[in-house]
């Protein structure tokens, strides 16, 4: 409370104004009486000037309202003991958009939350945190159910996966300690290990759903030289059509339903359907649907899925980019001339690639290196080719049997088991290997991962554990090399929700990010690679800068969120400990809302009193 609050002082000035108005009204009031005759004795002497304010209940009520308003503007607070603090975690992950019996889980969660805050005691303070993205809706605690409702009404379901326990921990950090109670509104089942202070209000339920869980395009990487030139020329203009060629869109569809469903997959461009495939997907099964496009020009293609029993809409749509990149820039970083020569020969074979060898600067599209340190530093997608031996002379090749995961795009064109002459890397890698193994090598009874694919933070990393100098002409190795280049090149064009977009490098200046939901984000970019983290909506993001317009596709491909039949729990919070002393600090309860309520009541009382008096008074 500020005694010298300017608004309060200004409002105090209304009291003299009120007194003056009453006295003015009293002087100017005309009252018709039957006759002045009884008062003739009084009229003979001049009337005395009234000096005191009129003693009217209406006047005192109005004066009280003015005084209360001045007090409310001074923002008084009551310092008292700590009140009950409740942390509400509202699940806003994509699965909350699943519609069951005409209403989405999120709508049911909001209704349950509103009912919960309406029935809570007024002294209870509430913090509300959303899970996807983790966002504190009420940085200051709220007690008024209306304020809490208003904060919750502004929230919508995102296209992200969420971690309830992360949201709860962020909420605890905002509160400054564990809350007295935590209430989670989610579609997830209540975990068995939840503590007593955590209440789960599960609003979900099993609902059949069909989802796009994977999306890749299959088109020639190495175009003829003349085609590359024409594509590169056309890609400088958004409107100019590029070269049209055959491509295949590979859509991985999963049926999260207890019964098989007919599924239709369509590929369209500019709302014009180009191809359609119909398949029947068994219950719980995942199917790869290949949609061939005989003539696919460069650009964005919409992939849509349709199924009779489908609860979630966000996973029925994805966007894939085809043939728009033109020449891809590859940078090779190595200190080994033999390595450079071997890899350079491979890269020279593809006219669609332009490569250079330098140590400094950012890679344009992807980086090829034999240096693990350079691979870890890079922001672009990277192909690390190293067997970890760091030998000056390559070991002699010998026949190694490859076990290939053909379902992965890195394993395309390879037999599931095939012999390859190569130098086997040591079984023990010098450092930790990151990624999912796609190819294993078997030799001398050992099973060694040779090819690993990793994808994190919008960046892809392929680790190829072999020495290219030992067998530069082995066809399977060259196939794996180009599979990797193609897979890595795709990373710059598409990503999934929740992973950042890496664009650039861009010149310093203002960058405009046009989101799929229509919102425009202005970023003051200092230069270099632009990292845009708020990819919580699936769709095409347009980044406008001095360089022009760059389109990046963000797709929602999350089988865990799409699985609305067997929803797993993301709650792994540790049991809540005793409330921290810091959180027990006395709270300052604002009095202004109560004062405003009292003012409104007084105004109503005054109005009723005035109306009744008017009825009684003669006209």
């Amino acid at each position: 409370m500020h005694l010298l609050s300017p608004w309060a002082l200004c409002w105090l000035g209304s009291l003299p104004v009120l007194v003056w108005l009453w006295r003015f009204a009293a002087v100017k009031r005309q009252t018709r009486v039957a006759s002045l005759v009884p008062f003739e004795a009084l009229l003979r002497r001049p009337p005395t000037r009234r000096t005191r304010p009129p003693l009217s209940l209406l006047f005192w009520l109005q004066a009280l309202v003015c005084a209360l308003a001045a007090w409310a503007l001074a923002e008084p607070v009551v310092v008292g003991r700590t009140t009950h603090t409740t942390l509400i975690v509202l699940d806003t992950s994509a699965s909350m958009g699943a519609v069951r019996r005409g209403a989405s889980a999120f709508d049911r969660a909001k209704r349950a939350l509103t009912a919960h805050v309406a029935s809570k005691p007024l002294t209870e303070r509430v913090y509300v945190v959303t899970s996807a993205p983790v966002q504190v809706l009420t940085p200051t605690p709220l007690s008024d159910p209306g304020d809490i409702r208003a904060a919750v009404d502004s929230v919508a379901v995102s296209d992200l996966a969420g971690q309830l326990s992360v949201a709860a921990k962020v909420g605890e950090a905002v509160i400054g300690g564990p809350p007295d109670a935590t209430v989670v509104f989610t579609d997830e089942p209540a975990p068995a290990d939840a503590t007593r202070s955590v209440t789960f209000r599960s609003v979900g339920g099993a609902a059949p759903n069909v989802a796009i869980v994977g999306l890749e395009s299959d088109e020639p990487l190495c175009l003829p030289a003349d085609a590359v030139k024409s594509t590169a020329a056309s890609s400088t203009s958004d409107a100019a059509p590029g070269r049209e060629g055959a491509a295949t869109v590979r859509v991985t569809v999963q049926n999260f339903a207890p019964q098989s469903q007919p599924v239709t997959v369509e590929v369209a461009r500019d709302r014009r359907r180009l191809a359609r495939q119909r398949v029947t997907v068994e219950a719980g099964a995942r199917t790869l649907v290949a949609v061939p496009l005989p003539r696919a020009g460069p650009g964005q293609y919409d992939v849509r899925l349709d199924a009779p029993h489908d609860a979630l809409a966000v996973d029925n749509h994805a966007v894939v980019s085809l043939g728009g990149a033109g020449r891809r820039a590859v940078r090779v970083v190595t200190h080994d001339q033999e390595f450079l020569r071997a890899v350079g020969r491979w890269l020279d074979a593809c006219p669609g690639l332009s490569w250079s060898a330098s140590d400094a600067g950012e890679a344009d599209d992807l980086l090829v290196t034999d240096d693990p340190a350079a691979a870890s530093r890079a922001s672009a997608s990277t192909l690390l080719i190293s067997d970890g031996s760091a030998a000056a002379v390559p070991a002699p090749p010998k026949v190694v049997y490859w076990l290939v995961d053909s379902t992965h795009l890195l394993g395309r064109y390879l037999e599931p088991i095939q012999p390859v002459p190569m130098a086997l890397p040591p079984s023990q890698a010098p450092g930790p290997l990151s990624g999912v193994p796609v190819i294993w090598g078997i030799a001398d009874g050992e099973r060694i991962p040779l090819l690993l694919a990793a994808e994190e933070q919008g960046r892809r990393l392929v680790t190829l554990r072999l020495d290219p100098r030992a067998s530069p002409d082995a066809v399977p190795i060259i196939v794996v090399f180009f599979n990797s280049v193609q897979w890595l090149a795709r990373a710059s064009e598409s990503t999934t929700t929740g992973t950042p977009l890496l664009v650039g490098p861009l010149a310093p200046g203002e960058v405009r990010v046009e989101r799929p939901d229509g919102r425009i984000i202005l970023v003051q970019h200092p230069g270099g690679v632009l990292r845009y983290d708020r990819t919580d909506r699936a769709g095409v993001h347009r980044i406008r800068s001095a360089h022009g317009v760059i389109e990046r596709t963000v797709n929602f491909l999350d089988p865990a969120e799409s699985n609305t039949i067997a929803v797993g729990s993301t709650w792994d919070a540790a049991p809540t400990t005793a409330r921290a002393a810091a959180a027990r600090t006395p709270v300052r309860q604002p009095l202004s809302p109560w004062l405003i309520i009292v003012m409104l009541v007084l105004v109503v009382v005054e109005w009723v009193y005035y109306a009744r008096r008017r009825r009684r008074e003669p006209r």
Binding site: V27, R29, Q30, T31, L36, V37, P38, L42, P47, S56
Partner: protein
Amino acid sequence: MPTTQLVDPALLAKLSALRLAVRQVRWGARMGGRFAINRRGSSVEFADYMAYVPGDDIRAIDWKLYARSERLFIRTYREEVELSVEIVVDATASMGLPTAGKFERARQIGLCLAYIALASRHRVRMSWITPGAIASSPWYATRGGVAELERFLVRREPAGSVTCHDWVQRAVSSLRMRGGQILLISDWMYRLAECFQALHLLRRRHLDVRLIQVLSPEEWRPARLAQGGVLVDSETGQTHELAYSSAELERAVVMHHEQLMRFCRQHNVAFALHRLDEPLDELMLRTLPARGFLA
């Protein structure tokens, strides 16, 4: 029993048992109507004995009774006299304030009194105190006249201004008032000096004068006026800035009322005050009989 809109028929039924009280009869018995009165003197029908007071006709002393009781009593006889009753209702603008209920109540009182008089087979005429020409009804002598008098009453709304003395002067001459009883129903918001002159004039015309003052509670306790402002006289339009305490205002009203009441007491004029928050039944069945208006 005649039915009326102004007065509850149940009240009228109760009024049938009442009669106008007559303290002195001088004139006005010429045009019919009978009124039984115990009168000192001689007549045909013995009524009662009364104690002798100096001035009584010694011929009326009952000597036989004196012989038995050794006290002097005179014989009284029942005599029927005829009475003309003038009922005058104030219809100036002041009767419309502070509420229309004041004038309405005055009309009801006038009609009740007229009903009582007609039930006793007296002759009744009703007049308005209004500016301009004297407005009055014809004489009525039967109960059927109640309906006519009600129609006469409901036609008028309070308006205009006239002084009490001026109206009485004109009414006495134009209506040829002489003898009988006159009942004046008003708020008596007149200058008292003029009122007293008017009442003296009526008394000189041998009229048994009776006053009923009708006031609203707001007039009786004018605390609302203490809020100040400008007072406007409803009749004259005269304004005055009023800034007095409620006690001063109340005292002024009480003094006005007491002066009027003192005059009536001194000159043997029946007077009754009626406040609008009192029911009409209370006035007709209790107050007026207690004040000597009705018997």
